[in-house]
Point group: none
Chain length 217, copies 2
DNA sequence: CAGCTATGTATCTGTATTGTATCATAAAAT
DNA sequence: ATTTTATGATACAATACAGATACATAGCTG
């Protein structure tokens, strides 16, 4: 299990991140200031730290100094997009930075990227007889690869992370397409159909009348 | 009892939400401006706040600031659907976002989602020997799934949340169909009959002469 | 630039869902 | 008991929805 430490004094942001990373299968711990961060790092192993720069107590840079010798990758969270801060952070040893406000998709991408770089990626999600590798973005049944497009892959991932849960068309659209306006387009349906066909999941991904779809396993 | 505070200056919207959440078993309180919201939050505990952005007095963002330290989840209600606003809201600490006009079904889904996230709700409702899973929108008896349509499911949910309570036809119609005008149509009756048949609940859902129906368990 | 792939729109069609109409039966009122 | 009214049952029609297919566009690759 990959463990991520989230250090941010704004609880909502903390929660938002935690929720999404937990959903993606990571084990998260939240602390709200620099001192607590150092304390917990003293006794617990983590694979990645998400670190806010503006912190009460010790600021982000100081915490970074503390983390450095532990050799744990760090992603800086910064409110401002000032190049100065970025450079400073990266110079001091942050592996990446993320400017608030950020899209969840981007957060996940960067987290995966960093973990991959550190060789710690959790890569496989298994659903039924299918293996989804988030790292190579590939899907296999046994050792036969199933070629999916970008959207199809994202869609599958969402279903895989929400097995047996009815997903509204709007939810699907928001997550895969990133926009909250769908209108009456039938894009989602079409992609579900294509995905079904490719995976031979004609009856596993069920349409729910007037609602959306559900992956049944 | 889960308590929800509704903050919206448009009374009809307020009422609509209140009615539906009350039916769903939540305890609701309505206020119509930001100041009142803060006042009541000062003295009463709530589990969730539904907050309109456009408010007289203090606007939604300011109220949000006020709520933040209280650590109560917030769902923003807004007419706008721009990602900018969404991010702004989420960044400031809103836990979710609902764009007006919204479907009642979606409202309930999001409320449940948030409460679940906060560990304050259960996803399964058990009635007699039947299990209703609001998350997957499925109904089972033992491990035999009972296929219900949208309306049937909503109807069952309403009965399940109001066991042994007589429900007026108008109430049923308003909640499941979302409209407050029913005329003298017999739509509700028909759906009750269909639901009865599917669940073999011919005698559990009792007709109450000149009133409506009641689920007896 | 041509050709390919990914993605999205438009359209048609079958069908599940939903609602209306009708008649039969049960409950209440007189 | 008889009338009146409400509900149950059934059949059927309208509708909305999802599946399928074809086609248009965009974006990439060579």
């Amino acid at each position: 299990m990959i463990k991520i430490l989230i250090v941010d004094d704004e609880k909502p942001i903390n929660d938002l991140i935690e929720m999404n990373l937990s959903e993606a299968g990571y084990n998260c711990t939240c602390v709200y200031d620099g001192i607590s961060a150092c304390d917990i790092l003293e006794v617990e192993r983590f694979d990645l730290v998400l670190l806010d720069i503006m912190l009460p107590g010790a600021n982000g840079y100081e915490v970074l100094d503390y983390i450095k010798p532990l050799n744990i990758p760090v992603i800086f969270l910064t409110a401002k997009g000032s190049t100065e801060d970025k450079v400073k952070g990266l110079k001091l040893g942050a592996d990446d930075y993320l400017t608030k406000p950020f899209e969840i998709v981007e957060l996940l991408a960067r987290v995966e990227s960093i973990l991959r770089r550190a060789g710690k990626t959790q890569t496989e999600i298994i659903v039924d007889d299918i293996i989804i590798d988030t790292r190579s973005r590939s899907v296999r049944r046994g050792n036969r690869e199933i070629a999916l497009t970008m959207k199809e892959f994202e869609l599958l991932l969402l279903f895989a992370r929400n097995k047996n849960i009815a997903l509204f068309r709007e939810t699907l659209y928001e997550n895969v397409w990133g926009s909250d306006f769908m209108g009456d387009s039938r894009t989602v349906d079409l992609h579900v159909q294509r995905l079904r066909k490719k995976l031979h999941w004609e009856d596993k991904i069920k349409a729910i009348y007037k609602v959306g779809y559900r992956l049944e396993v």
